[in-house]
């Protein structure tokens, strides 16, 4: 790790772009930000594999592609498996023909990662393929129109977990993707957030330097699905961190670190009130759910403090 050229400011990020504009993602979408940075951060030849999802459909509408690197899409649930095959092929061809093995970067949404693609991801992590898996998590199935996923946070309203009179949105907690990745024995896994681009970029550098599977769990503002102002995506992303709802942390070769320490968290209501998906939580009849969420947030933060060896 020590020989990594970690950056200090945004200015240190290379200017070259490998994702062309002209893609059809929504105005204010957070997904391309991590794509742009990942393609800059991963050195040398690289190949991108995408799961079906917003990023995939909006960047490659035939006959146009936004990708300036080789890009492969096969299906929804199999990005990690497709990437495994590509990695294995280059491994074999490197041995036989001396062709240099490129780094494989995989992009999956939360649906393609937490839900339908979890089995393939688990397989790829367990087999130890040399690939960087980035989950761009916008916390619901946005490509098909805002349906609940297992990454949808507690309390959020989606079209399949609507804020109803009896059940006010999703009642289940979000899966712990980093925990799942670490349980597979990966050397590096981290959460990241576009409001902290230097941290995000350095994490991509660290992940790319590992020979083997790594996972980046990236917070992805989605103005369409969250019913929020497109211009406030980064602001909302920062609030997610500052309220401790979305902690920014990493698991790095056995060590846990909270990268953005939040000493005095802002009230979660500040985060919720900017997004239509959470607005019902501020109604008096749903106070019980709001309280439950606050408890969850505190519990999760304390869990991370403990992992990082810090006092709760």
């Amino acid at each position: 790790m020590s020989n990594l050229n970690l950056i200090k400011t945004v200015k240190d990020i290379p200017p070259e772009e490998y994702l062309a504009p002209g893609h059809r993602l929504c105005a204010g979408c957070g997904a391309p930000i991590v794509v742009r940075l990942a393609l800059k951060a991963v050195p040398g030849p690289k190949i991108v594999v995408s799961a079906t999802g917003c990023l995939e459909v909006a960047t490659t509408i035939f006959p146009y592609t936004s990708w300036k690197v080789p890009w492969v899409h096969s299906a929804f649930e199999n990005a990690a498996a497709t990437a495994s095959g590509i990695e294995a092929a280059f491994r074999a061809l490197e041995k036989k023909k001396g062709a240099k093995k490129p780094k494989i970067i995989v992009f999956g949404g939360d649906g393609g990662t937490f839900d339908i693609g979890l089995q393939a991801l688990s397989g790829a992590l367990e087999r130890g393929h040399d690939l960087l898996y980035i989950c761009y998590d916008n916390e619901a199935y946005m490509n098909t129109g805002i349906q609940r996923s297992s990454a949808t946070p507690k309390g959020a309203a989606t079209t399949t977990s609507p804020a109803g009179r009896v059940i006010p949105g999703k009642l289940e907690r979000k899966k712990d993707l980093i925990g799942i990745a670490v349980a597979h024995g990966v050397e590096y896994a981290a959460t990241a957030n576009p409001a902290y681009p230097v941290d995000l970029y350095n994490k991509l550098l660290k992940a790319a330097a590992v020979k083997g599977p790594t996972v980046i769990h990236y917070y992805t503002p989605c103005p369409t699905g969250w019913r929020s102002d497109p211009s406030r995506g980064i602001e909302i992303a920062r609030l997610a961190v500052q309220t401790r709802i979305w902690p920014v942390y990493e698991y790095d070769h056995g060590t846990w670190r909270i990268n953005i320490m939040v000493k005095k968290p802002k009230p979660v209501e500040e985060y919720f009130k900017l997004q239509g998906r959470f607005r019902h939580l501020l109604q008096p009849e749903n106070k019980w759910l709001l309280e439950e969420i606050k408890k969850d947030v505190e519990e999760n933060w304390n869990r991370l403090l403990k992992l990082a060896g810090l006092k709760t």
Binding site: E56, T65, G85, I86, A88, K96, A120
Partner: protein, 392 residues
């Protein structure tokens, strides 16, 4: 000098895959194919085969990994059967549409439920619309030979379609027969290393598998449809080159006594030999019977079939599967559609046999010919669908 080795069908396929110097194998074990992947992992782990074996967590991932590996330029192999094939279904179409050159061995086995591990052609037929080339082996030697030819066909620049070698579950996968094998150093004469077309290359960034809407999708599908049709003469060429290489001749259709046959059977897979044996015996009695079996199932050899059926009065199309609610089982529909606009075509009926490994015995075949003779004589088909070997 010919070297004969006793091998079962699975072992023969694995041996051929090893000799084909495959680069990537991604597969998930499933009876009756498992021996293939066990053998291949053994070859890899013993250093006898320089390939990456990807021990995937499901068949869906097996074929997905194969798609990735094939696009990356590797020679790729997988094997599956029945439920495993069903789990791959989504990716079957993707593999063909992306024009990968995957070779798959399919140890034909019945679909559940109830669960059964023995031979039906359900899985082979499930691929029929997916844009794969499908070959059928009738014995272990053919399973071995067709594996080499499958790689040549799939990777042929004029073809570029994934290719399946079907071999009947247990009847071939687990039966040992003598196989005339090649020496390793001979193989490149027939099967040189893969020269990938348009592989993934960071120097030449291409996007594979984009979103394609109503403005282009149908053009891409028409292109794929025409390409599979156009592969036909190139498949014949591979068969011919294999004959020159090995002395063993393969054709899309294998026929016996069709020149003057009045009634005939059309069939796929290991039971073809049993039918041939019966035909030989009935011919000794002076009966004008014949049999056609298909080595090439997709693309379907329509013109040849029309030719060999010329003058035949009644044909029993034998399916080792069933198509529920359909006007006929799968091979029957293929044959019926092939003949639909032909003048003076034979009368057709569909025989369902052998499901889930039920043995097709010579007496069953005799019954089928009796039925066919009756149809020919009376000039009508009283029963379009006949189940044979089933307790009534």
């Amino acid at each position: 000098m010919a070297r004969i080795v006793g091998m079962n069908g699975d072992t023969a396929v694995a041996y051929a895959v090893k000799q084909a110097d495959v680069d990537v194998i991604a597969a998930y074990p499933i009876t009756p194919q498992t021996i293939i992947v066990e053998k291949l992992s053994e070859y890899v782990n013993n250093g006898e085969l320089n390939a990456a074996y990807v021990p995937v967590e499901s068949e869906h991932s097996a074929l997905s990994a194969c798609v990735g590996a094939s696009l990356a330029g590797a020679r790729v192999f997988t094997a599956t059967a029945s439920q495993g094939l069903a789990l791959m279904y989504e990716i079957l179409y993707i593999a063909s549409s992306l024009r990968t050159t995957i070779v798959m061995a399919l140890g034909n086995r019945a679909f559940s439920a109830p669960i059964n591990i023995h031979c039906s052609h359900d899985d082979a037929y499930a691929v029929r619309d997916a844009g794969w080339i499908e070959l059928f082996a009738e014995n272990v030697q053919e399973a071995y030979d067709l594996t080499f030819q499958a790689f040549r066909i799939a990777e042929d620049k004029n073809v570029l379609f994934p290719t399946i070698v079907n071999l009947d579950g247990f009847i071939l996968t687990h039966s040992l027969e003598g196989v005339n094998v090649f020496e390793d150093e001979e193989i490149p004469k027939f099967l040189p290393p893969k020269e990938p077309v348009n592989p993934i290359d960071p120097e030449k960034p291409v996007s594979y598998g984009p979103l394609d809407l109503f403005d282009y999708y149908i053009e891409h599908k028409k292109q794929q449809a025409e390409a599979l049709k156009a592969s036909y003469p190139h498949i014949l060429k591979v068969f011919e080159e294999f004959r020159e290489f090995s002395g063993r001749s393969y054709k899309p259709l294998k026929t016996l006594s069709m020149e003057d046959a009045e009634v005939a059977v059309i069939i796929l897979g290991s039971a073809a030999g049993t039918v041939r044996d019966v035909v030989r015996k009935l011919r000794e009695k002076g009966e004008k019977v014949g049999v056609v079996s298909l080595t090439l199932y997709r693309p379907f050899p329509q013109e040849e079939l029309v030719k060999v059926l010329k003058g035949v009065k009644a044909v029993a199309v034998m399916d080792r599967s069933y198509s529920y609610g359909s006007p006929g089982a799968q091979l029957f529909m293929d044959v019926a559609a092939t003949l639909i606009n032909v003048r003076d075509k034979p009368l057709l009926f569909n025989v369902i046999y052998g499901l889930g490994g039920r043995d097709l015995k010579p007496e069953h075949v005799v019954q089928v010919f009796e039925h066919a003779k009756k149809v020919a004589k009376e000039g009508e088909v009283p029963e379009k669908e006949v189940w044979i070997g089933v307790r009534e």
